[in-house]
């Protein structure tokens, strides 16, 4: 079954079951807050693939583990560990988002020189490992950093969505001028996100959720595509396995762990259920 059929099937299921949970949002901020506070577990471990797709070239496939920890109040930690291909194996990225105005901390670890280095979080527009995801996309973005407005209701792949516009309050703190999000009200997931940059009238990037599943009671985007609408370069993201609420320790999100991939093996075992 191709992506489209799956999406249509998923859409039908959501229409039947999802409507039980349907709710009305009084304004854009309420909707954005609901999306931000969407239940997604205190922590999670996942294994997935990132595939870079460029016309005329063989795709580049990367395998990675992602560890997330949500401590509440905007304190969100994330570590990404690449496993394949071999020449980048164990390269890691650690992102620590804090509550309030405190700047995000970000480190990258290169196993070939066994060094981790802090990377500047001011540079939001840099492409993350050559993909179509920008560093800014990996960071937490609290609701109050943008002004939100509901534009309309719209059907997307036969699913009712609420179209939300989010514009940064301070244009300096985002590389995007605005985002238009197609929010599925029942799951509170964005099924499509169009991003605008440099005053462009047309979106420069589009994120499409291609497969959504409920895992341990949490709606999860299992497959998505990030498409650069200028270059037509695409990044396909797929979660092969995910486990929520696995007692991921807080100290895992530290330089000590980042620089020693052996330490996370115990946690990874939880993913395979061993």
């Amino acid at each position: 079954m191709n992506y489209f059929n799956k999406t249509v099937l998923l859409g039908c299921l959501l229409l039947v079951f999802g409507s039980l949970y349907a709710q009305e949002f009084k304004d854009g901020e309420a909707l954005a807050t609901a999306v931000y506070n969407r239940p997604d577990g205190d922590n999670s471990i996942s294994i997935g693939t990132m595939v870079l797709v460029e016309k005329g070239h063989k795709p580049r496939i990367r395998q990675m583990y992602t560890f997330n920890l949500d401590l509440g109040n905007g304190n969100k930690y994330m570590m990404i560990r690449f496993k394949k291909p071999a020449d980048i194996s164990n390269t890691g990225l650690l992102t620590l988002d804090y509550e309030g105005d405190k700047e995000t901390d970000q480190w990258v670890y290169l196993p070939a020189i066994n060094k981790s280095r802090r990377i500047s979080t001011k540079r939001r527009g840099g492409r993350f490992v050559g993909s179509d995801i920008l560093y800014e996309d990996l960071r937490d973005r609290p609701v109050d950093m943008d002004k939100h407005r509901i534009l309309r209701k719209e059907k997307l792949n036969n699913m009712e969505t609420i179209v939300l516009e989010s514009i940064p309050v301070d244009p300096e703190n985002s590389v995007y001028d605005k985002k238009i999000l197609w929010i599925h009200p029942e799951t509170l997931l964005a099924l499509r996100v169009d991003s605008y940059q440099n005053g462009s009238k047309e979106p420069v990037k589009r994120v499409l959720a291609r497969q959504i599943e409920k895992k341990q009671g949490y709606w999860t985007v299992m497959k998505s595509i990030v498409r650069d609408l200028k270059t037509h370069h695409e990044t396909h993201l797929q979660i092969n396995k995910i486990k929520y609420d696995q007692n991921v320790p807080e100290d895992m999100f530290s330089l000590k762990y980042l620089e020693d991939p052996q330490r996370e093996k115990v946690i990874i075992k939880q993913l395979s259920g061993k």
Partner: protein, 759 residues
């Protein structure tokens, strides 16, 4: 309308009806108009190469992998350049420019990658983005920019006193896009109040815009002026309004038809194509002079009304048909040139000429029959005063035939040594006079930033990620170091520099790590996490093809080729494991030079052969064809001798001169020689036939040559060198052809007559 041979058949000539002629005229006026809107002005470098030329194929491939090479460079100089306010305005200009869909990226000190490290950190920042350097004083900012590995010699001068904005377009389709980018850039800079700090604007986009503007300027000023000049001369000769109105109308139709043909061929309106207008206008005036000269003669002989027109047609149709075919042969021979704009010029001008022939011979007579009411001045017109010059020179030439022929041969032999001095040139900058703002700007940028001639070596590895191998990068580094030491090379950059910078930054800016790492994994991981933009200007996403970019401080195809030969020699002497080839504007200039010379040889030889065969066909004999070619070879040699003497190069403008000049020059010979042969054929004594031929056809030949020369010489006032040289050399060629036609041709024929008598 049908024609039969000879004057006795005047009565058998039938004219088209006035209404039908008018209908045909309207059809040829209106039809092209619908197509002209599709004419795309384009002087972009790739237009000048055939689709399958290796350099064009490579460029097409490179554009799939790398950004555009053609850029617009704006150079600023301001003492406040490193202040907060200035940087803010600079950034604002950059971001407004980048919002334009025609612009892909703007490279400047505020956007160029600056890689730096610290004890625990690693950053890829912009060299001088305001919010990243707010903690630095103006002096510290200046130091940061001039100490950056990549900025000096690219976006700032070595001392930081000059700042450049490099505007890189998306893939552009025509010169109009270039002009739009240039206009928009000026507008944005002016609106931000920094225009007074702009000291130079250059780069390939500016060159193309300047070419486009000059082309338009020539079409708007010089070309109408040449038409006016032709009209003044026409008035001097005939003193009648009708010929002038008809010349204007027919010229317009012929030019529009030729441009319509350009659209049909799917080609753009390029610089050589713009020469169609003066050429067809001049030829139109030449046709009319022959036509009206015969009209005048028929009037003198007492013919009136339709009989007069039929008499005129009987007199001129055959030589006009011959001349059209030979001129078309000359123009079509340009199809042998490998350069598409030159081919297009040849084919389209030939088509325009065909339309002109059709108009003059088929449409004009019924119109004249209806509209021509007034008298034709037979005594006071300028035509009469030309007779004496023609007759005297022909008489002189016949009397001293041996001396004339020997003199011409000696003169040509003496000048022959200059032929070898003629060189080809393809550098677009050399198409402008030294005082042109573009040249002044280019010199300033070359002086303050770096040379503006881009040359690249493209390296291809074997398979995906092959460029992550340390040995491969070390090989590129060694070549880069050697190339950088050449005096003609100002700056170089390659992916090796980026890898070295990352290695250095990841090791807390320890200078010993500013080198290529020894491990493939290290290189892979650096490249994996690299999040800047500059790297992918230098290597493709497959890490299989990379380019070593150089800025050369030399211009001109020969100097560029000399640098390329040096590099080639070095690379051949090294055990280089990578496949390599040259690319960039410099290679284009170099390849175009070869194509120009190749095209000149092929089209020149083609023109001679085609015209010779046409003449042999007309006169059903090779001998008269050979005799008629003699006075036309001489002016061509004369053109090249003049080019050698004056140091005029073979360029895109002069490359069409030979075929155009011989195509037109041979027309006069046909008129004169055909008039002579016709008289001999009906039994007139050869010497008398010769004198009569010069008396009847000679003055029209003289008048057309003078008008054509005047018009082409007028083009020489253009400030655009190819137009200037095209006008000058064609004028010289036609003038020489006239001199040879009225001196050498009668001398050759007189010698032939003497020989026949002796035999």
């Amino acid at each position: 309308m049908s024609y039969t041979k000879g004057r006795s058949c005047v009565k058998e000539i039938k004219l088209l009806s006035f209404r039908f002629a008018l209908f045909l005229l309207l059809v040829v006026i209106i039809t092209p108009v619908f197509f002209l809107a599709h004419l795309q002005p384009n002087n972009r470098a790739e237009v000048f190469f055939p689709e399958d030329a290796p350099v064009r194929v490579l460029e097409k491939e490179l554009r799939q992998q790398f950004p555009e090479d053609d850029v617009l460079i704006v150079l600023f100089s301001s003492k406040q350049a490193y202040s907060d306010d200035y940087l803010e305005v600079f950034e604002s200009i950059v971001s407004e420019l980048e919002r334009n869909p025609l612009i892909e990226r703007v490279i400047s000190m505020t956007t160029m990658d600056h890689i730096l490290g610290s004890d625990d950190g690693f950053k890829v920042e912009s060299v001088l983005k305001k919010d990243e350097v707010q903690h630095l004083s103006e002096q510290q900012r200046l130091e940061r920019v001039i100490q950056d590995r990549f900025a000096p010699g690219r976006v700032v001068s070595i001392d930081g006193a000059y700042q450049a904005l490099i505007i890189r377009p998306v893939s552009l389709k025509s010169s109009l896009d270039n002009a739009a980018i240039e206009t928009f850039t000026r507008k944005v800079i002016t609106e931000h109040g920094l225009m007074s700090d702009v000291v130079a604007i250059a780069g390939n986009i500016e060159i193309e815009v300047a070419m486009f503007e000059t082309m338009l300027d020539d079409n708007m000023r010089f070309i109408p002026a040449t038409i006016i000049l032709g009209i003044i001369l026409l008035w001097w000769l005939f003193r009648k309004i009708l010929p002038i109105v008809l010349v204007l109308l027919f010229s317009l139709v012929a030019v529009n038809s030729a441009l319509f043909f350009v659209v049909i061929l799917g080609q753009p309106f390029s610089m050589p194509v713009s020469m169609i207008t003066p050429l067809l206008t001049s030829l139109c005036i030449a046709f009319f002079i022959h036509f009206f000269n015969a009209f005048l003669q028929a009037t003198t002989l007492g013919y009136q009304g339709i009989t007069r027109i039929k008499r005129v047609l009987a007199e001129v149709e055959r030589p006009v048909r011959f001349t059209v075919l030979t001129t078309m042969a000359g123009l079509i021979s340009l199809g042998l040139s490998p350069l598409p704009p030159i081919q297009t010029f040849g084919y389209a001008a030939a088509f325009g000429l065909l339309v002109l022939y059709f108009l003059v011979i088929w449409v004009l007579p019924p119109l004249l029959n209806r509209w021509d009411k007034g008298d034709w001045q037979t005594k006071s017109s300028g035509m009469v005063s030309l007779n004496r010059i023609i007759i005297n020179s022909a008489r002189l030439s016949i009397r001293y035939a041996g001396f004339v022929v020997t003199g011409v041969v000696i003169l040509l032999l003496l000048g022959g040594t200059q032929l070898l001095k003629v060189k080809a040139e393809t550098d677009l900058l050399l198409y402008f006079p030294q005082q042109h703002p573009l040249i002044v700007s280019d010199h300033l940028i070359s002086q303050k930033i770096a040379g503006t001639t881009p040359l690249e070596i493209i390296f291809d590895g074997v398979g995906r990620d092959s460029l992550k191998e340390p040995d491969v990068l070390k090989e590129i580094k060694s070549i880069q170091q050697w190339v950088q030491a050449l005096p003609e090379v100002d700056t170089t950059i390659s992916m090796v520099n980026v890898v070295e910078e990352m290695h250095w930054a990841f090791h807390s800016e320890n200078p010993k790590y500013r080198d290529v790492p020894d491990s493939r994994s290290i290189i892979s991981q650096y490249l994996f996490i690299y999040d800047g933009k500059d790297l992918f200007d230098l290597v493709d996403s497959e890490f299989q093809r990379t380019r070593l970019q150089m800025s050369l401080n030399v211009h001109g195809a020969r100097e560029i080729r000399a640098v390329m030969e040096k590099i080639e020699e070095h690379l051949k002497s090294q055990p280089v494991q990578l496949k390599w080839q040259f690319a960039g504007g410099a290679r284009m200039f170099s390849d175009q030079e070869k194509l120009l010379i190749d095209g000149q040889l092929k089209s020149g030889a083609g023109a001679f052969i085609l015209i010779f065969l046409c003449l042999a066909f007309f006169w059903r004999s090779f001998k008269p064809a050979f005799i008629a070619m003699l006075p036309n070879i001489s002016p061509i040699i004369f053109i090249f001798v003049t080019m050698g003497l004056l140091g005029i190069t073979l360029d895109i403008g002069t490359a069409i001169v030979l075929s155009v000049a011989i195509g037109i020059a041979v027309d006069d010979t046909i008129h004169l020689y055909d008039a002579y042969l016709r008289r001999v054929k009906i039994g007139v004594q050869p010497v008398i036939a010769l004198m009569r031929a010069y008396r009847t056809a000679g003055r029209a030949v003289f008048a057309t040559s003078i008008i054509l020369c005047g018009q082409f010489f007028f083009l020489a006032f253009s400030s655009f060198i190819p137009t200037h040289q095209f006008g000058l050399m064609t004028g010289i060629g036609l003038l020489a052809a006239l001199v040879f036609d009225i001196l050498l041709l009668p001398a050759i024929l007189a010698l032939g007559i003497k020989q026949a008598k002796k035999a």
